[in-house]
Subunit: 554 residues, 2 copies
Amino acid sequence: MGRKPTKLKIIPLGGLNEVGKNMTAFEYKDEILVLDCGLSFPEDEMLGIDIVIPDITYLIKNKEKIKGIVLTHGHEDHIGALPYVLKKINVPVYGSRLTLGLVENKLKEHKMNNLHLERIKPGDIIKLGVFSIEFIHTNHSIPDACALAIQTPVGTILHTGDFKIDYTPIDGEMIDLHKFAEIGQKGVLLMMADSTNAERRGSTMSEKSVGVTFENIFRNTKKRIIVATFASNVHRIQQVMEAAHKYNRKIVVSGRSMINVVNVANELGALNVPDDIIIDIDQMDQYEDERIVIITTGSQGEPMAALSRMASSDHRKVEIRQGDLVVFSSTPIPGNEKLVSRVINQLFEKGAEVIYESLADVHVSGHACQEELKLMHRLVKPKYFIPVHGEFKHLKRHAQLAEELGMPKENIFTIQNGTIVELTKDYGKVSGSVPSGRILVDGLGVGDVGNIVLRDRKHLAEDGLMVIVVTISRETGKIIAGPDIISRGFVYVRESEDLMVEAKDVVRNALDSCGQQNVREWSVLKSSIRDALKDFLYEKTKRRPMILPVIMEA
Amino acid sequence: MGRKPTKLKIIPLGGLNEVGKNMTAFEYKDEILVLDCGLSFPEDEMLGIDIVIPDITYLIKNKEKIKGIVLTHGHEDHIGALPYVLKKINVPVYGSRLTLGLVENKLKEHKMNNLHLERIKPGDIIKLGVFSIEFIHTNHSIPDACALAIQTPVGTILHTGDFKIDYTPIDGEMIDLHKFAEIGQKGVLLMMADSTNAERRGSTMSEKSVGVTFENIFRNTKKRIIVATFASNVHRIQQVMEAAHKYNRKIVVSGRSMINVVNVANELGALNVPDDIIIDIDQMDQYEDERIVIITTGSQGEPMAALSRMASSDHRKVEIRQGDLVVFSSTPIPGNEKLVSRVINQLFEKGAEVIYESLADVHVSGHACQEELKLMHRLVKPKYFIPVHGEFKHLKRHAQLAEELGMPKENIFTIQNGTIVELTKDYGKVSGSVPSGRILVDGLGVGDVGNIVLRDRKHLAEDGLMVIVVTISRETGKIIAGPDIISRGFVYVRESEDLMVEAKDVVRNALDSCGQQNVREWSVLKSSIRDALKDFLYEKTKRRPMILPVIMEA
């Protein structure tokens, strides 16, 4: 009698239908492997929220099964949730050189020590329970990015991580196409691949092309050069340093995360800093403008980042002036377009020359476009496919691409976070789901800000609030103090005295009504106040501030 | 002895260093002409604000000098502030056919009647005091857009309004290049021109090209077609209707502003609706999918607009399903990218096919790019130039363009709202400024929400609030009720009871301290409570809710 084949379960917990908080669980019998552990940034409606992490209810429930966490690369949407997750599930973490360096930094900031972190390098194979994981070198907008080939008793899973194909990479290390070809030949059961640029035709340009642009810019100007880029884009920083070196300029590194990454990358050998090229920001005025390059944070227009503060005259050490040439070696992440525009305008107003993506080739993407994705699909030749790392439109387009290449529709799973895809050698299907979703982090609180709190913040943000306080005698039930009205974020009180006086009358009348009907139930008193005031205020102002009646008894 | 020449003053009050709230005053001796009267949409930080209008302090101060308001076209950023401004300065308003139709609608909505509105047509010349204004037909993304040639004793001003050059316009009426040539030959003192696309090389494509795309789409599908576009883009709507007519489809118009504009434009003859093509939304299910086109609002992902509600299953009459083809015949206005993306993803998830700008030629801009701007500069040959209608980077680039064409730098004024440019036949210079800025409109309140209210809303939005109420005996100064704590938008109270209990202790201790030092001054009591609680809460939660201590005496 044939035994029922054991199923491999693939359970994405983040990263689908979004760009952010990537995390996937692979489960075979009673062993779980976790791939990536990222955060995402709050949506505009998530007022006051700092970051968003995946809901790991499923992992906590099965914590004794978890063998470890393997990381594809060091971007925040792949490692940012580690400090929170490791507090609940303390398992070994495996990552490449720079990836682990950034993880160590992050855990240090959270004052977390004595965790099991293991560095691996491309070509290494690690065994975690029944899973055998090989790390494969890829190209991305951060060094040391890896794809993972995960061997299981059911078959091999190839997870690309985030990748592009760069035929002329900065560090000379092209994505290991030979390895993908080899693995594809041996047979791959399932591929999970990066869908971010699935809508874009053609191929991503090589990182080297930006270096060419830098050379042209540096060669042709005597101005002080300021380059804003993603701190994690070490290869971009490398090219800035090489252009600076070639044209005899010193480098100032500006911005906390930029300084951190440059240090870590330099120590680990992921960045080759030419000797004596870096000077301290305080030494800058010892040099002419044409001898200086400042590499800085702020490419996304983040108000607190270095470049934004320079642009708004808020930076203690750097003043933007005519004679500055600012390069945004970046692209605005969706949602940040206006912030970036604001900084660009401020820089122009200060007389700087500003170069950005729409004016010159100063940025290339780190994600594969359609031709690169097609190559990956053809090399790997997987039986099943799950598009990952994208909004729905990206996943859908990527699924369509796979279909155009000949994959049967039923072998392609365009799913949501929490879906369980069950695979055996013979079949693949969606077999259910686990709890999934997002946990909001605000200050020290993890998960304690939910819909109600957000809803209240939204209400307060829109129309402010009115607090009505009245003290009632315990014996007689009559008002012995108040009603006092305090408002914030509603109207400018000094100009609205009449409104406040009338509002108090409205409250008194509502309470008198209740008194006449001998109502003493506080909840009823409060709703009477709230209803009366709500109608009054809307009629007078067409605004709906939050109304908080407070009754005290004395 | 020569008399001092009277100066012409040009005073922009809105539209510079922003895209929005366009308004300019022209002043000669004791006469003022106002050009356009627009609103702008609130920035993200302007919580709860509905719209923003120009600060017209200067106009109110000089109201008896104002001869009238002339309008270039019917977009909100050119007419949207009229209901508010006319309440303060009731002067005649002049505009073209559709422009005035939209203004009438708007004033009706604000229940404003008996205002002096006068329709003019291209070629008409009106005399307002010393100003003689000729309306000149242009192409833009709304019909009946005009440039204005304003004759003054000092010389002619040419204001382009918003424009592009369309050699194959939908209504057959190309921008009146002959008139610009003629006026240029006669001599133009000053040109003020649209800078929106000054950074873009080449030319804007003709509106007709979108019609070609529509034909291709309509010809090749049997699906129900839904087209989202700007309600004001009547020529786009015209092309949708013509493609629908050609391929035997009925039209449903959806969304309040879309229905309004289609009605007004149809009545005025700016839109030619094929007979019997429009059906009511309730008749839709009498037809097969391939016989239907829905023209709808929601191209900017506005949550309350029709398409967004269809996408989130919130629309009472239309459900998005497989078999729908949705076209976004638009481009996301900066700031709206994520909103649009969200709707696109929702539509895809419902199984619809979605086409948008990055995938097909379904939209063209309404603003001139560099080649068109150069043509305008060369035809008009002005002596002086003020770039308008753009953020600083756009104005700067446009100024640079004028310089590249040979205009002396000192004749180009890249200025801010409120700046006075003084012109005579012999010189042009910046001669000072007037009050200018923005007025925030929230509900019925105009200008009463200022920095303090916004700052409070921001604080409440970030970390919520805590109200502490305590009643003190008038005689003894001791607490006779409370402290009670009410929080909103801070923590989920049911899970934070310990925190609330400790917080009350902190408050009691602070009050006891004050009691011991015999402090009875309320302001001191309140700051003691606030300081103690602030430190406590930050230590426990790393959050800073607004703290509102309320003391009652009984």
